[in-house]
């Protein structure tokens, strides 16, 4: 039988052209956490973040909730951003919150790419999706994330 299982679910919505709003859920046999955060698309800066700790292992863990605010202002595109999130949010707060923030960060450019592909497909249902994404990646290579 399965002795340990973890699920992560990340959703991205776009309240405007400049902003992506992520919701991230992480559930496993031990921990249960949620994050909601807004990120500016242009530079990957975290604008707003909230967290909810549902299941944890000791009485100190909930003190990690306010530590999440250290993410506001961080840029999810700068070199080593994920290590910074783990250091500032994970070590000084909760590593499971940090894991969700990092997964949201990994989804940043993927979400924008998916939004743009969906819009392009609406305009042209016969669009060659491979070619569209190849060009999108070339045109957005400056973003720096793993596209």
């Amino acid at each position: 039988m399965i002795t340990f299982s973890r699920s992560q679910v990340i959703g991205a919505e776009f309240p405007d052209r400049e902003t992506v709003r992520f919701t991230g859920i992480q559930e496993d046999h031990i921990y249960g956490m949620e994050i909601a955060m807004e990120v500016r698309i242009r530079d990957g800066q975290v604008l707003k973040i909230e967290g909810n700790m549902k299941r944890y292992t000791n009485f100190v863990c909930p003190q990690a909730v306010p530590v999440l605010q250290a993410a506001v202002g961080m840029c999810l595109r700068e070199q080593g951003w994920d290590r910074r999130v783990m250091r500032e949010i994970g070590r000084k707060g909760c590593e499971h919150f940090a894991e969700i923030v990092i997964e949201c960060g990994r989804c940043l450019d993927q979400a924008v790419m998916a939004r743009d592909l969906a819009a392009a497909l609406q305009a042209d249902p016969h669009l060659n999706q491979d070619e569209y994404l190849r060009n999108w990646r070339k045109e957005h290579a400056f973003l720096g994330n793993a596209l």
Binding site: R6, Q8, V9, T57, C61, Q110, A146
Partner: protein, 163 residues
């Protein structure tokens, strides 16, 4: 407001009859479908088998992921793992999706071993006994020291522990 992008990710650990741990990692989102499977052999926690498959629209660098992942066979889950995995699987010509997946698989193996201790602690109702059990756990697992807010020097859990 509808979602424009959604990612689902699952990692599972399942002990096999031969004593190895089968670890399955799966990701699916609007643009990518990926799977990594590892077999990890106790007590050294050596990765003895590794397989990967990426479909849908993987990035150019990840299209050779299936061949690349074999490089981690022989690596053990332990100190320095992050650096070793990133060195073998990420960087120029590598695939960060697979490197991150392998690290998440290894983390799941550690949590597979952590879970029984946490469940034992749940059976303790007296707060002082519970605190003593948590302190004993930190003493037995020095890697926890300063790993999060609960185990920072100023935490009440760490009071009296000279670690």
């Amino acid at each position: 407001m509808t979602l424009k992008f959604m990612r689902n990710k699952v990692v599972e650990v399942e002990p096999r009859p031969d004593g190895t741990l089968a670890v399955s990692w799966r990701l699916t989102d609007d643009l990518l479908k990926a799977e990594v499977e590892l077999a990890v052999e106790p007590p050294e926690l050596e990765i003895v088998e590794a397989r990967a498959r990426l479909e849908r629209f993987p990035a150019q660098d990840c299209q050779a992921a299936a061949a690349l992942v074999g490089k981690i066979e022989g690596v053990s889950v332990g100190p320095g793992l992050r650096k070793i995995v990133r060195g073998l699987l990420a960087g120029p010509g590598g695939c960060s999706v697979v490197a991150d997946a392998v690290l998440e698989c290894c983390n799941a193996v550690i949590l597979h071993f952590t879970r029984p201790g946490i469940e034992l602690g749940e059976g303790i109702s007296d707060p002082e006994e519970k605190l003593a059990a948590t302190r004993a756990m930190v003493q037995a697992n020095p890697r926890l020291v300063r790993s999060c807010i609960a185990f920072q020097d100023e935490s009440p859990i760490m009071k009296g522990l000279e670690l």
